[in-house]
Symmetry: C2
């Protein structure tokens, strides 16, 4: 950030009075520009025991597999974001069950959340951000080709919980790894 | 938003190519400025059955009672945010139990989350954003003087769950009301 988005003057990174963290403060109008973490919301949808995955057509992790997910928009709920992203990336209308995982990714200022969902029929297609969309049995999940660690955690928890029949909401924290 | 925070030129609100929503796009460098919902994170801490509340020293809802909570910062986890806000607003060191409620407030672009927590000893004080901090028995909660609806929901769920001994994570969506 170099300029004030409100008045166009330059900004300086400094700790405002009464605050404890440095913020971008406008040198002219004094507006304090806060930068906060973003939410990435998605869905783990299954149809007859198979899980819906999308192969990414965009960076980062182009060509890798992911659950349909994306940045939450203003004026929507977390559930609406999960439904919209599944529609956009997998052209699939799913029924949400409940919020299933929350994964902190503090080194990139993100919180990922995934809903469990039902795909009522095997109807889906690649959206513009997907190269292909497919249903996978547990044995066929391309574990080495999953785009993000939060997806790996969510899929692993799903198969573990499914084995016991007890699905439970859980939170995770991801440290920086530089791997993926 | 009137100016590009990157290069200082004017911005135009329009739908970028390949997008479906209007964004602020820089007229000179083309940077797309996304605006996303923010997270407000707090804690419901109890000591011997009493709940820790703070009376707000700042707007909005100055003078009303709240759970310690505030905007999540970059580079922290949701749990770290809950601990930090409780320290800042109630000068209290609590032990988090688990994430307890997630409340969507889409009309103001916020998601509120509250952790359940233990206050190991009745040690607390008013931080700079609080007029006073106090422990309340269920019968003494000032229901008509609670600052935000997400706090009311979280407190109500806590006392309901405590009556059954079964605490469970839940999500809520708040519609616009104009009340509080």
């Amino acid at each position: 950030m170099n300029y004030c988005s409100s008045c166009g003057a330059t900004v300086t990174l400094r700790v405002p009075e009464g605050d404890v963290l440095p913020r971008y403060v406008c040198d002219r109008c004094g507006t304090i520009h806060y930068i906060n973490p973003k939410m990435v919301i998605g869905a783990l949808a299954d149809w007859e025991g198979k899980v819906l995955l999308c192969r990414r057509a965009i960076e980062p992790r182009l060509g890798k597999w992911t659950l349909p997910a994306g940045f939450m928009e203003m004026a929507e709920t977390t559930a609406e974001a999960a439904l919209r992203e599944t529609q956009e990336e997998a052209c699939a209308r799913v029924e949400l069950i409940d919020l299933y995982t929350l994964v902190n990714v503090p080194h990139i200022g993100q919180v990922h959340m995934f809903y469990r969902a039902r795909l009522p029929a095997p109807v889906f297609a690649a959206g513009t951000e997907s190269l292909e969309v497919a249903l996978f049995d547990e044995a066929d999940i391309p574990w080495g080709e999953i785009a993000f660690r939060s997806i790996v955690l969510t899929l692993r928890q799903f198969f573990e919980d499914r084995a016991t029949g007890q699905f439970q909401f859980r939170t995770y924290d991801l440290p920086p790894l530089g791997q993926y």
